[in-house]
Symmetry: C2
DNA sequence: ATATATTTTTAGACAAGTCTAAAAATTATA
DNA sequence: TATAATTTTTAGACTTGTCTAAAAATATAT
């Protein structure tokens, strides 16, 4: 049995492991999970004892196959619940995260799979993140960050990397939503801001914002 | 903030308080919650400290208004989730309890109220139990136990008091479900068993079974 | 290569929730 | 009403998950 706390650590390691090196550092986990390095060390030992993580003192952590599957299944639940909240319960995309953080820990195979079916087997959550299947797999992400595009190129906004409500409210305020067609008009060398066009309107977005927007096609 | 454990104790006291005396005994709570009397004593002190329960040493426990509302809201969530699982996710009535035990602790006002609306403001759960509203109130139960009826009287099965999967599977096996029209044909004095008719079929049910079946109209 | 800064681990403490065993209070019985 | 049985509480211990402060290891900079 994997506890709620263990699940949160597995998920943190899973996410940190994606965007970076093979081994994840104690401090990185502590920051992500808003705890302290010493707590992470303790927990990581437990995960290693349960064969969910590889751990070498001072060398960082990585997930075993079992650990990665367990983490992916938590992420699967998180994202399916987010879809449920938005599609069925009138939540907006900036309201779902905290509730999904609770719902992702509910233990019931049948519940997850029936929920998946009820939602029509969605492939992405309301923020464009892919939903792992029961084996923890998902289709590779094909969208590319705005900063890597050429001037004049166009695409559909299909993933926002930051799912914090502050960022999502910013997007709401600027009338930007998943599915919008966006055209890159200019890159400003001074501050790396980007001018984009969407819905016949031009707006300038900062580098920090651009870093979180991914277009496809 | 009320913890998960505190919610479970509140619920136990709430349920025990209904079908009996004003003050609930330590042992009764321990049995219901499958813990030990000493654990109950500890927890009950905490509930009293938080003004959720009235507690006098050796004299038992009862809920304050705050405690009763908190308990009713947990019960509300439990029953709404049971309806969701049966109506939307193809669970049968003997599969919902354990999952609802987890879901009832999810904290989100919006979630509960949107779920309620999504389900069409149901008044009863899949076992016929009433669903409290946001103020913890529900319409008084008007159904009456089979053992209290006269021979020849007829009614609709509208509440099963025992929601354990063993009992519900027994009902499934005997093709008895909520909404069935049932007629009382005979009471056997020897063992208090009851002969009933439903769907043009006669069956004999034991006293233990009859105690859990409530008919309305 | 050595000294300094940073990261990570260890040691020890604490809160929540639980348990067993013993003591105290209440209730039942003779 | 005195004694026995039962219930409830207390005392002390244990687990999980967390923290702070100090020690140890690793990384960085001269
Ligand atoms: Mn999320
Ligand atoms: Mn998301
Ligand atoms: Mn139930
Ligand atoms: Mn029920």
């Amino acid at each position: 049995m994997i506890t709620l706390s263990e699940e949160n650590y597995l998920k943190a390691i899973y996410h940190l492991g994606k965007q970076g090196a093979a081994a994840v550092s104690t401090n990185a986990i502590a920051e992500k999970i808003e705890s302290k390095a010493s707590s992470v060390t303790d927990m990581v030992k437990k995960l290693a004892d349960k064969n969910l993580a590889h751990y070498i003192k001072y060398q960082g952590v990585s997930l075993t196959n079992d650990g990665r599957l367990a983490a992916a299944l938590v992420v699967r639940k998180h994202r399916l619940w987010e879809v449920f909240l938005v599609e069925k319960l009138n939540f907006s995309w900036d309201e779902v995260h905290d509730v999904a953080e609770q719902l992702e820990h509910i233990k019931s195979q049948k519940l997850v799979n029936e929920l998946d079916a009820f939602l029509g087997f969605p492939t992405h959550d309301p923020h464009g993140d892919p939903i792992p299947d029961k084996d923890g797999n998902y289709a590779p992400i094909k969208s590319v960050n705005i900063l890597e595009l050429e001037i004049g190129s166009e695409g559909v906004l299909s993933l926002v990397k930051d799912s914090s409500d502050v960022f999502l409210k910013y997007l709401n305020k600027n009338n930007l939503a998943l599915g919008d067609v966006i055209k890159v008009l200019d890159f400003e060398p001074f501050d790396d801001s980007v001018t984009i066009q969407t819905k016949n309107k031009q707006i300038i977005i900062s580098k920090e914002v651009a870093k979180n927007l991914y277009l496809s096609q």
